[in-house]
């Protein structure tokens, strides 16, 4: 009973943060700020969703089903893959956006701007 409650709470936290990422994508003005919402919130939400799946898997394992071990360990691998690839993908998108000339909206400072221009002049 309490175990189920913990799983539901973890799922709820995860779904809440993933929902927040969606709302952020709609509300923020440009690609960089949208990436802020799209990477941090989805990663954090996925940690909790994966956590609840791992708990379910561990309970299945504890009650004697070997399928539980498959579920738990594969979910841990999926979590590690999300943690590694999500920021890397965001970094690649941000870099590509800046190289193709998308300036950050309402920017106070842009150190990279001059630097990119310099590189193009050298070429």
């Amino acid at each position: 009973m309490i175990f189920n409650l913990i799983i539901y709470i973890l799922l709820a936290i995860g779904v809440f943060f993933n929902l927040l990422a969606g709302v952020g994508l709609l509300r923020f003005p440009d690609v960089y700020t949208r990436l802020h919402a799209g990477t941090k919130c989805t990663t954090f939400g996925s940690i909790f969703i994966c956590g609840s799946v791992i708990l379910i898997g561990l309970r299945m394992w504890y009650t004697g089903s070997t399928d539980g071990s498959v579920l738990a360990i594969h979910t841990i691998f999926a979590l590690v893959a999300i943690l590694l690839t999500n920021p890397t993908g965001a970094h690649a998108i941000a870099r590509a956006a800046h190289r193709s000339g998308v300036a950050p909206v309402r920017a106070v400072v842009d150190d990279l701007q001059n630097n990119t221009l310099k590189k193009e002049e050298e070429k």
Binding site: G24, F28, L35, C41, F44, S69, T88, A107, D111, Q113
Partner: protein, 172 residues
């Protein structure tokens, strides 16, 4: 030779973890163990020069313990803060963005990769580009503090706190 052994053993462990519950020999079946061993030998001989570049400093278990402590300690706390921060900005719409340059003074590729990923997942910052000669990072910062802009390049403490010190202990 050592590179070959490390790559093979890591491959084999990963294969075993991914095939748990397949049989009665412990958790595995004999076929899975044999196929896993053969495949890891092939992968080890092909990928050893890619997987291990030039040094073996990550073999030290102390570095792994620090790494795990870093991930579940300061890193996770910073991530939680980051999400509350993004939630606040999503709801109120208050942003003050900019791209700043920081010099974290890390030397290895592994260290700079880890720092860039940590920066992306922690409060208000997203790494955009890297200067490969000097290992400087360009960071998109959602809420630029006026105080940090007085000196250039910006002191990394404003952007990512003590992460470079942790990563220096892990990767260098």
């Amino acid at each position: 030779m050592l590179a070959f052994v490390i790559t093979t053993v890591l491959c084999f462990i990963t294969y075993l973890l991914l095939t748990t519950g397949s049989g009665t020999l412990g958790l595995w079946s004999l076929e899975e163990i044999l196929v896993g061993a053969i495949l890891s030998l092939i992968v080890g001989s092909l990928a050893r020069t890619i997987f291990v570049k030039d040094n073996f400093r990550m073999l030290n278990p102390v570095r792994w313990i620090i790494f795990i402590a870093y991930v579940i300690g300061p890193f996770f706390v910073a991530m939680a803060k980051a999400n509350v921060d993004v939630a606040y900005r999503v709801i109120t719409g208050k942003i003050n963005p900019g791209i700043v340059k920081i010099s974290p003074d890390l030397k290895t590729d592994f260290g700079i990769t880890m720092l860039a990923n940590s920066i992306t997942l922690t409060p208000g910052t997203l790494s955009v580009d890297v200067d490969e000669d000097k290992n400087d990072l360009y960071v998109h910062w959602i809420n630029v503090k006026k105080k940090a802009l007085e000196k250039k390049p910006v002191n990394y403490r404003y952007v990512c706190g003590k992460f470079p010190n942790w990563i220096r202990r892990i990767a260098e």
